[in-house]
Structure formats: structure tokens, C-alpha cells
């Protein structure tokens, strides 16, 4: 029987209780949505007593479905003021499942000063331990210390100094399978600050002596379908640029079309994008002993991760992704991949969302605080976050805060959350997703690039956004969306898996219904939290400033946006 790990930071207790039957067929984003609706008042202070930090795995936790051990972290976001689900790869979900833990709920605020961590040992015993020795320790050093203390067969879920300082864009870092680098980020929406507000430094999970096995309604059917689906995904992944290169390959599609953000979303082209593109990346990997085609969790057949070394061949960063490269790179007019890799490392280390802070740096450049393209100056700003300077504090609270402080009129946020590496004028469906997703400006909620008709046109973009938002909502409850993208031709098999694991009929509406229900629950939660249609808007400058690359403006009207998530 699955357990919930209840971590009560007011009482300073941790205990395992049975995982509620009502959430039996839920996981990931869907579980977070329902749990939040049931247990967390929408009007609560995100950094207060009543907010909870939820950590869970997918509906297929404990099985052999590839990428089933994706970790979802949720709660009320101090950044957006609404519901947040932020997911990541890494090893932690696999070990939580191995320990029989389907979900961890962190609640309450401690009455006393202190810092704690939760430790789950190889026998499955759980303890809340004093972590004051690690106060101010950033993630890389923290993980090293955990390896010294508990060995390498562990996974960590931790915050760095940014989370401890309760920065609204603080991430929660998850250690990768293998070397254990804390480079997988549950980055969006400031969940690290919620964890920090509860004075929880980390959850450290040891590999269990005996791995928990879920109960199957029909084990044989599940196994057979799972084998088939894993094969389908592996076959698709063979031709997937994410496997063959890495997510950086996306820049080869966005760099020429005006979708790649350049110079704080000016809409211009940046011919130097090739300096931070796939070929440069592959050359640097090959010549420095770096690696791509890496897994971040056991059993992944997509293998999109990487290890990126510096000029001397020493480890610099891992999980080096398109969003970070696009937004620290061309969006800041920086064309040095090594500088960007250093920035990625700093962000993972102090635990901060690269998308948010990169947008903040671009705004800082636009307002003349540092020059465009000055990588060292940008690194200097990140150092200010680490050092906790006055400007560092601003940066740590997101690009909207920085933009307002510097008097910038061009702040690319929706629901206060910074946009990802896709200019909404040149991929309008993605812009529609940014505007209407309950998660804020979240590209993973429904990236429509290449899906509908012309990306710069209006035709079918609303349709594509709607369909993708539903798909991503259930995919984020089941597996990594990169694996999901490769299983779309065999999607009915997901219904077979649900039936094999949970019983009942193999009905695809059980799967798609998960997506619709999740979206509607999130929308309802946000409404109760005080959000209105006014929050479903793209910033004005995207509507008035034509992208010089294409001449396009974001011209999807409010009336059209208002019905995107009608079902």
C-alpha cells in the first residue's frame, strides 16, 4: 500500500500514513490540482502557515513505464499567486516510489528558528533531522556532503541559498541519477521559497533495501503493454533531436524563424545564435569529454540530458537546456556557450529559476544596468543573488520585480511569471498558452510550434493550444512530456496501462479526462484565489510592437482567449 509522507514543520514531526484511496488514480499535476483544491485554501499566503508543499510522482509510479518517475512539486505559488505544479526529472521520484512513498506533504511553519531536513533511510525509516549545519550551503556542496554522509545511493530534493532567503523565483533542485549532480530543476513558480518558508532544507532518500512493488489489477497485461509502449517511445526517440543532440536542438528551429527571444523579446533575429547552437554544443562536448544522450532517471529511453565540461575538460554543468541557453544567450545578446553554462551552474547551485532570472538580466541590460552581451557582468548579477545584495534580492524575486524597480515598460510575464524561450508573436498558439494556462507563462503547458498552420498566423492556433494544454495536463500526470511526445501514435496504450494497473475498462477518455479535469480544477482554484480574465493577458508591448523578424504582432483577441479553456 502506498504511503504519504506527512512532514509537519509546526510540530516538527514526520510520519508515514496510508496514501488516500481517493487519489488512487491520480499523480503528478492532476494529483496536485485535486489535493490543493481539497486541502489548501486558495486565498492563503503562499509563504504562510496554510500553504502546503506537495511532492509527488506520477500515476505510473513504481512501474517500468519509461520516465514514469518524474517528480511534480506543487502548492500555491508566491510568484503567480495561483496554483503551481513544477516538475523535474532526476532520481528522487524513483527512490520515493521505491520507498513506497507516493506523495510527500510539507505543511506548517516552525515556531522556532532552525533548519531541517527529512531523511528516509534504506530501511524506509523516516526522520526529521537538524540541518542548521547546512544553512547557506548551496546545492552542489550540499549534495557532496550528503554523499559523504549517506553514500552515493541516494537522491536529494534540496534548496540552495535562494530558497533559504525565500526568493520568489527559488527552485527546488533534484539530483540526477548517476553522478547525483543537483541539476534537475523544479524551477517555475518559486516552490523553493515555499520550501524555504517552511525551513525545510532537503529531503534525502536512500535507495531502499527492498523496493516497494505496487499492486496491479492485471500485472501481465500491464507488463506486456508497458513493454510495447516503451518500445514505441524508444523508436520515436531515435529520430528525436533531444536524444541525438539535446534540447538545445530547439534553437535550430527557433533561431531562424523569429521564435527565439532576442534582446528582451525585441522580436529581432540573432544570426550569432549558431555560436550557442547545436553544432557548437556538440563540438564542445566532443573536444572536452562532455556527454549527451544521458538519462536523468533510470529507465529513460529518450536520454536528452548531458554533461557539459569547461575548456579544461572539468565538469561545469549538466542538464544544460534550451530555455537556459535561449534566455541567457540571444535574449541577452550573449553568444558564448561557456559563459551561459557557468550561469546555469550558478543557478542550479543557489537554486534559482534560470528562465526568470535570465529575463531579469535581459531587463537589466535593456535598462542599462549592465551592457547587452556582457556575459561577465551577467554572471556578476547572479553572484549578487548568491551574495544577497540589495539588487540581488530584487533579482531573486523575478523579472517583473526587477522590471518595475528599473522602470522597464517591456516586461515579458503572464501571471507575474516570466516567459520561456518562445516569442509569442511568432508562435501565436504558444502565446495563447502563455496567456491562458493556469500555470502562467509556461511553455511546457502547451507549445504549439509547428503544430497548427503558420506559427505567425491565427488559424488553428487556439485549437492547437487547447488540445495541447489538455494533453500536457495529463502527460504531466504520467511521464516526461518528451517521452509522451514520442508515444502519441500509440496513445490508446496509455488507457490499457491505466486499466492494467488500476482495473476497469481501457478507455482513452480516462486519460484525456484527466487532462480536462486538471485544467478545470486549476482554473477554479485560481479563480478562488482571486484571479480573473485580466490575468489571462499577454503584455501590451507584444500587441503593439511588430517583430522585426516577421512583422507579426500578437493579435489574438481577448474574446478568443476567454474561451480557449472552455470544455
Amino acid at each position: 500500500m502506498w504511503s504519504t509522507l506527512n512532514i509537519n514543520m509546526k510540530n516538527l514531526t514526520v510520519s508515514r500514513v496510508p496514501f488516500p484511496d481517493k487519489y488512487r488514480e491520480m499523480g503528478g499535476r492532476g494529483l496536485i490540482a485535486q489535493y490543493m483544491m481539497d486541502h489548501v485554501p486558495p486565498t492563503c499566503d503562499p509563504l504562510g502557515e496554510e500553504n502546503k508543499l506537495l511532492i509527488c510522482t506520477t500515476v505510473f509510479a513504481g512501474t517500468n513505464l519509461t520516465t514514469a518517475h518524474r517528480i511534480s512539486i506543487g502548492g500555491k505559488s508566491p510568484l503567480t499567486g495561483g496554483i503551481k505544479e513544477s516538475n523535474a526529472g532526476g532520481y528522487a521520484a524513483n527512490l520515493l516510489a521505491g520507498q513506497g512513498i507516493r506523495m510527500a506533504v510539507v505543511e506548517g511553519l516552525p515556531d522556532t528558528d532552525g533548519l531541517w531536513l527529512v531523511h528516509v533511510n534504506a530501511k524506509g525509516e523516516v526522520a526529521l533531522e537538524d540541518a542548521t549545519a547546512y544553512e547557506g550551503t548551496n546545492n552542489y556542496e550540499f549534495v557532496d556532503k550528503m554523499h559523504e554522509k549517506y553514500g552515493k545511493n541516494i537522491a536529494t530534493i534540496s534548496i540552495g541559498s535562494a530558497g533559504e532567503r525565500i526568493h520568489r523565483i527559488a527552485s527546488i533542485q533534484i539530483s540526477e541519477f548517476g553522478e547525483g549532480y543537483p541539476s534537475r530543476a523544479a524551477a517555475r513558480g518559486g516552490m523553493g521559497s515555499v520550501m524555504g518558508s517552511k525551513r525545510l532544507k532537503a529531503i534525502v532518500i536512500e535507495k531502499p533495501e527492498t523496493r516497494f512493488e505496487p499492486e496491479y489489477a492485471d500485472r501481465e497485461t500491464f507488463k506486456a503493454v508497458c513493454t510495447e509502449l516503451n518500445k514505441v517511445i524508444a523508436t520515436g526517440a531515435k529520430a528525436d533531436p533531444f536524444r541525438n543532440i539535446g534540447t538545445i536542438a530547439t534553437i535550430e528551429a527557433t533561431g531562424l524563424s523569429g521564435v527565439l527571444p532576442v534582446e528582451n523579446f525585441s522580436g529581432k533575429l540573432f544570426p550569432e545564435y549558431t555560436e550557442v547552437g547545436a553544432n557548437k554544443f556538440l563540438t564542445n562536448l566532443a573536444s572536452r569529454g562532455g556527454r549527451n544522450k544521458q538519462i536523468c532517471q533510470p529507465g529513460c529511453v529518450v536520454k536528452c540530458s548531458n554533461v557539459y565540461n569547461d575548456k579544461e575538460g572539468n565538469y561545469l554543468t549538466s542538464g544544460f537546456e534550451y530555455e537556459t541557453i535561449a534566455l541567457f544567450g540571444p535574449n541577452c545578446r550573449i553568444s558564448d556557450l561557456d559563459v551561459i553554462a557557468r550561469m546555469d551552474r550558478i543557478c542550479d547551485d543557489c537554486g534559482i529559476d534560470t528562465i526568470e532570472v535570465a529575463n531579469a538580466i535581459a531587463i537589466s541590460m535593456e535598462m542599462g544596468k549592465i551592457p547587452w552581451g556582457d556575459g561577465e557582468a551577467a554572471i556578476g548579477l547572479l553572484q549578487e543573488i548568491k551574495d544577497g545584495t540589495e539588487f540581488g534580492q530584487l533579482l531573486g524575486n523575478g523579472c517583473e520585480v526587477v522590471g518595475n524597480a528599473l522602470g522597464c515598460k517591456r516586461i515579458p510575464v503572464v501571471k507575474h511569471q516570466g516567459m520561456a524561450g518562445y516569442d509569442p508573436r511568432n508562435t501565436k498558439g504558444t502565446g495563447i498558452t502563455y496567456a491562458t494556462s493556469p500555470q502562467g507563462a509556461d511553455h511546457t503547458a502547451g507549445l504549439t510550434l509547428g503544430r497548427a498552420m503558420a506559427d505567425t498566423g491565427r488559424a488553428a492556433q487556439g485549437y492547437a493550444s487547447n488540445k495541447l494544454q489538455v494533453a500536457m495536463a495529463f502527460a504531466d500526470s504520467m511521464m516526461c512530456i518528451f517521452a509522451f511526445a514520442n508515444c502519441v501514435p500509440s496513445m490508446p496504450l496509455l488507457a490499457d496501462l491505466m486499466a492494467g494497473l488500476y482495473g476497469g475498462k481501457p478507455d482513452i477518455t480516462r486519460v484525456t479526462g484527466m487532462g480536462v479535469k486538471t485544467l478545470l480544477t486549476e482554473k477554479a482554484y485560481n479563480k478562488m484565489a482571486g484571479m480573473t480574465e485580466a490575468d489571462d493577458k499577454i503584455p501590451e508591448f507584444f500587441k503593439t510592437e511588430a517583430s522585426p523578424a516577421t512583422g507579426s504582432v500578437f493579435d489574438v483577441g481577448d474574446a478568443e482567449l476567454a474561451c480557449i479553456l472552455n470544455f
Binding site: 498552420m453 491565427r458 488559424a459 487556439g462 485549437y463 493579435d555 474561451c563
Partner: protein
């Protein structure tokens, strides 16, 4: 907004223009053409006249008279085999949308391997075919000027389309004389199909100034002349106006696309086995009213082209309401079958609501519609008994 107008087919128009078919085919450099038509056209002698005209211009002809309505893919594949064996270097289609779409399908398979079903969708990668000349005898599908052909995939029973440069004709010959004998009911149904093309092209959210201009003219013309063509089929002026209006509507929609009217129309037509024009007509008034929320300025154009007086400060809802009533009136004026005539029960109609969203045209709606809104629209359409 940046828009584009890309699909353009040269046209020859006017009474007697079909007598230049042979000359035009010659000009295109063809020596041996496949002539595509249905048995009905043979029976009324129209196809023989075209074949004679071609032969007189010293163009060799192979005839395919097996065109079926809602062209089945296997029929097209058989005809394409005939075309390849005959080493033809041109195709002439004479007839309604089915004949023209058959010709287009054959053209897809001249240099691309069958089956044709593998090419459904928007295809920029097909090898070019041979020149095609289209002579519509209905007014109409507008297929003579579009870049798509609608085919029935017999294995699944579903209709789908191939949209490609290979489906674009080299010239359209619009001779109203070929439409003089068209029966009243078919005149009404095909004429209303053209109206739907124009109305949907205007409100698609994907429109452009050229399509808008073409669609407006089509709507004005159809409003004025379709009722006459229906009641007086021998009226050559009405027939001339209608064949041009149908072409204009086709030119408009092939660039600006259709949306909900055709999503409903395809679904209703497939489920109840009624003709395309009648099926698209079922819910059009209500759909235009729905679209008015986001496209009121375009819905106003539809209304004003139908001589509806719309106040300058009318709200989108008022504009939608007035225009939808005008469309309802047009349907009555051309004796379009009512719900009662079509023998639908409300229950039957509502059952198709979830299927409407499966049609590709649904994706192009300017304003997202939920399945329950589809059902509401069907209910309102049923109650209006239009």
C-alpha cells in the same frame, strides 16, 4: 495583421466560353487529355460536346465517366491507373465538385504513388502533375479555383482532403450555359454551399483583404440572384451571376479557409446522407451569430451585403442576430429543406454534437466552441426549423 493570398487560378468566363476548351488545352501544350465526368452529364449531352470540342482542336481524348458523388479513393485510384496507362498530358474535368475533385485526385497520383489516402492533409512535398482544365456545371463548390480535393476514404468511410499545389487547376472555364439545366433543388443546395464558403471565409480569422472583397461580392450576388436561379432556371443572367459568385466564393475560401459551417456540414452530411450544400445550411445562421462575438465587423459585412440595415453602434450580439435572420430568410427564399423536411429528430441531431469537433474545419474556428455549445446550436437550429 499580416495576411497573404496565395492560391490563384486563371479564369475564362462568360456564355459560350466552354467552346474555347480545345483552344485553351492546346495553349497549355497538351495533346492527349483524360476527360472526367459522371454518367449524368453524358446523358444530358454536355460531356459529348466538350469531347467534340477537344477533338476538333486535334486533342486526343480518353474518357472516364465513372465519377461518383463524394469521390471514393478507390475510384480515383482506378481512374489514375487509366490516366497513367494512357500517357495523358492533361486532364479536363466537367461537372460538379465531384468531377473536379476526382480530376485533382487523379492528378495527385500521376507522379505520386497510390494510395491517395496517404496524402491527406496539407502537402508541400508532392511531385507535380499535369495541366488541368475545369468546367464547373454547378454553382457550386468553387473547386475549380481551390487547392484541395475532398475524397472519401473507403476503408474508414471518412471524408478527408488533400491540399496541395498539385490540386490547383491551370485554368477554370466558367460557362453559365452549362448550368442552365441544373434542377432547382440542386441549384439551391450548391448555391447555398457557395454562400457558406463566402460567409465562412469572411469570418475565419484567417482572412485577407482580397478574400474579403471576393467574399463580399459573392454574398451580394448570391443574395440577389440565387432565389431567381432557383425559381427560373433558364434565366441566363441569374445563371451567369451565380457561376461567377461561386467562383469568387471559392477564391475567397481557398485562401481564407472555412470553419464551423463546414465542420457542422461535413458531420451532418456524413451522418444523415444529405447533400453537402444542404448539410452546411443546417446551422449556418446560428454559427454566424456565434462568430459575431469575435468577428462582428465581418459579420456586419455579411449583413450589409444582404441589404440588412445595421446601426453603427450595434453590439456584436445585435449584428449577429440581424445577420443570422437574414441568412435564415435566404434559406426560406430558395426553398431549402427545413428540419421537418429533412425528417431529423432533435435526438438524432444532438447525437452528432461530439463528432462535429472531430472535423478538421472545427480547428479553424475563430472562436473556440465547446461540445455543449455545438449541441446548443443544433437545438436552436432545430427550433428555428430553418
Amino acid at each position: 495583421m499580416i495576411t497573404s493570398y496565395e492560391v490563384f487560378v486563371p479564369a475564362l468566363m462568360g456564355s459560350g466560353s466552354s467552346l474555347r476548351t480545345g483552344l485553351k488545352v492546346r495553349e497549355l501544350g497538351c495533346n492527349k487529355v483524360l476527360v472526367v465526368y459522371d454518367k449524368g452529364l453524358k446523358d444530358v449531352g454536355i460531356s459529348d460536346k466538350i469531347v467534340e470540342n477537344l477533338n476538333a482542336a486535334r486533342i486526343e481524348t480518353i474518357c472516364f465517366d465513372g465519377v461518383l458523388p463524394d469521390p471514393p479513393d478507390i475510384m480515383i485510384e482506378g481512374a489514375a491507373e487509366l490516366a497513367r496507362e494512357g500517357n495523358i498530358d492533361g486532364i479536363v474535368a466537367v461537372g460538379g465538385g465531384s468531377a473536379i475533385d476526382t480530376a485533382k485526385g487523379i492528378n495527385v497520383l500521376i507522379h505520386n504513388q497510390p494510395p491517395i489516402a496517404q496524402y491527406f492533409g496539407i502537402r508541400n512535398d508532392l511531385k507535380p502533375g499535369v495541366p488541368m482544365v475545369f468546367l464547373p456545371t454547378t454553382s457550386g463548390t468553387g473547386s475549380e479555383v481551390t487547392n484541395m480535393c475532398v475524397i472519401t476514404h473507403m476503408a474508414t468511410g471518412a471524408k478527408n482532403s488533400v491540399t496541395s499545389r498539385v490540386c490547383i487547376g491551370s485554368i477554370a472555364i466558367l460557362d453559365p450555359d452549362l448550368t442552365l439545366g441544373l434542377p432547382s433543388q440542386i441549384t439551391a443546395a450548391t448555391g447555398f454551399d457557395a454562400f457558406c464558403h463566402a460567409a465562412e471565409a469572411l469570418t475565419s480569422g484567417h482572412e485577407n483583404p482580397l478574400s474579403d472583397a471576393l467574399a463580399r461580392d459573392a454574398i451580394r450576388t448570391i443574395s440577389d440572384y440565387l432565389p431567381i436561379a432557383v425559381t427560373d432556371g433558364c434565366n441566363s443572367i441569374a445563371r451567369e451571376k451565380m457561376i461567377i459568385a461561386s467562383m469568387l466564393a471559392g477564391m475567397a475560401f481557398t485562401n481564407a479557409l472555412v470553419h464551423l459551417g463546414h465542420a457542422f456540414g461535413h458531420t451532418i452530411g456524413a451522418r444523415f446522407h444529405i447533400s453537402h450544400g444542404i448539410a452546411c445550411a443546417v446551422a449556418l445562421p446560428q454559427i454566424i451569430e456565434f462568430a459575431s462575438v469575435t468577428e462582428s465587423h465581418k459579420v456586419r459585412m455579411i449583413g450589409e451585403c444582404m441589404d440588412v440595415e445595421i446601426a453603427k453602434d450595434a453590439t456584436p450580439e445585435e449584428i449577429g442576430n440581424l445577420t443570422s435572420h437574414a441568412i435564415l430568410k435566404l434559406k426560406k427564399d430558395i426553398n431549402m429543406p427545413t428540419m421537418k423536411d429533412l425528417d431529423f429528430t432533435l435526438e438524432d441531431l444532438l447525437k452528432i454534437a461530439p463528432l462535429v469537433s472531430q472535423d478538421l474545419s472545427f480547428a479553424l474556428s475563430p472562436r473556440r466552441m465547446t461540445t455543449s455549445q455545438v449541441a446548443e446550436i443544433l437545438q436552436v437550429a432545430y427550433d428555428a426549423n430553418g
